[in-house]
């Protein structure tokens, strides 16, 4: 029993790393573009299909397929900004309209995937070895995903803190008009953020590719998970999201081991509702008084 829990907890931490990356992308887009990207998990799904198509029917090596999918998803991000988000911002659409438009996008993505790739599970047949540490067993694929996600987050942290462009992104998130007065072009930063957000989904898809087989409704639960984490940590708060990801990762992994995955999803949503009731600004969020 103890071994089961220990294994579940470790797997929860490993999952938390990838979830942190997912939540980071959604948080960044929310902070900068001020849009809740409700189709973010669906973008991961699309990324997985790209990798699958390049690696299986086209027969490219998996690594190469992953690398090619990065710019492809970047382009998807730019297209989303140009075709969906930019018109919403120009029309000064209210938040509900924005949310509905992005929710509609999930249906577009899921049905598009079904038309192109069908409803069957599509996976890459890669078996990576399992490492044993006494009674603890770790799947190499999960370990790669965890380390890869953490390194990516570290890189993004350095980018946001050390470069002018990163500073521009953080400025826009805090005060749009002030940022414009500093000579920052918000349109350019929006496109850049959405491209980066898209590339992140491809990266997550790459980490997931040896772990999961993809199907058209693969993304929904990840969108939900990312959204729960973002709210839990405080919307737009990157550190809060990071902590929230590990909380959700460990809680769902433990409860899945003790009960079932369905109960785990319920528990994640219960946490979500509890946070909204007790601390609407999230763990590290700042209460907006204006």
């Amino acid at each position: 029993m103890l071994e089961l829990l220990l294994n579940a907890a470790i797997n929860g931490v490993l999952l938390g790393g990838v979830l942190a990356l997912l939540a980071f992308g959604m948080n960044l887009i929310f902070g900068v573009v001020k849009i809740i990207h409700m189709a973010y998990g669906q973008c991961v799904m699309l990324g997985l299909y790209f990798i699958y198509t390049l690696a299986v029917p086209l027969g490219l090596p998996l690594i190469l397929a992953c690398i090619i999918s990065l710019p492809l998803m970047g382009i998807v991000g730019i297209a989303l900004q140009g075709l969906v988000i930019s018109p919403l911002l120009t029309a000064k659409a209210n938040p509900l309209t924005q949310l509905l438009a992005l929710a509609g996008l999930t249906i577009v993505f899921e049905n598009l995937a079904q038309v192109i790739w069908g409803a069957d599970l599509r996976g890459i047949n890669v078996q990576l070895p399992v490492i044993h540490f006494g009674s603890i067993f770790l799947r190499t694929s999960n370990l790669i995903a965890f380390v890869g996600a953490l390194l990516t987050l570290l890189g993004l942290y350095m980018f946001l803190n050390r470069t002018y462009l990163g500073l521009a992104i953080r400025s826009i998130a805090q005060d749009l008009d002030s940022a414009r007065l500093m000579g920052i072009n918000p349109r350019a930063v929006y496109y850049l953020t959405m491209a980066a957000g898209g590339i992140l989904t491809a990266l997550i898809a790459a980490f997931f590719s040896p772990i999961y087989a993809v199907h058209p409704h693969f993304g929904g639960s990840f969108t939900m998970m990312a959204f729960i984490i973002v709210v839990l940590g405080g919307m737009g708060n990157l550190l809060g999201g990071f902590i929230g990801a590990f909380i959700i990762g460990i809680v769902t992994s433990l409860s899945a081991a003790l009960t079932s995955t369905e109960i785990a999803d319920i528990l994640a949503l219960v946490i979500f509702i509890a946070v909204i009731l007790v601390r609407p600004q999230g763990l590290l969020g700042i209460r907006v008084t204006k």
Partner: protein, 234 residues
Amino acid sequence: MLEIQNLNVYYGEFQVLFNVSLRVSEGETVITVGPNGAGKSTLLKTISGLLQARSGTITFLGKPIEHLPAHEIVELGITHVPEGGRLFPQLSVYENLKVGSYLKRARSEAAATLKEIYRLFPILDERKKQLADTMSGGERQMLAIARCLMSRPRLILLDEPSSGLAPRVVTRVLEFVHQIKAQGYAILMVEQNVRKALRLSDRAYLMESGRVHKEGNQQSFLEDPYIRKAYIGL
């Protein structure tokens, strides 16, 4: 340097500025006097591109700028310190200054400009790691002005730099404005402390209900009976 002619600005269908004309010459300090709601802040926002005029022209160094977006106007050398400073609260003092030098042409000189600013405002050097949010009102205003200097401007638009500050701090902030003026920058300032601000200025405009009612040099404003009665309180 800056030439504004017949500017008309609306918020939706509500007209805020009516045929406003104004100019600022190289190295000159100009102050705009007027009651709340006269359109003084609107005027500054229209110059810096945060708002778009419906008609009229704004020319800066011979170039029409009324249709340019805000980030391109900064590029030309106009910087705008909005009311209250509008710092980035969750960035450190140093980071706020660094964003100030975001422009390509300012980046290469950022280190030198920063040194110069730390010399002018030593307190910013001492507090550089602190979040902007944790500074006092007067320090924030100084940081906001310093941040705008980082862009290496020619003309500085100052919107009520003394707003919400204690009288003792107001004097200090206006002293800083005086130091900046001495460095040769052109300044267009909106200020409620009319008497103190007029002393700094070379010329002044009186704005009421969105219209320019009077233009003149420092002396003519300080001696005008209406301005003395309504704005200086003598």
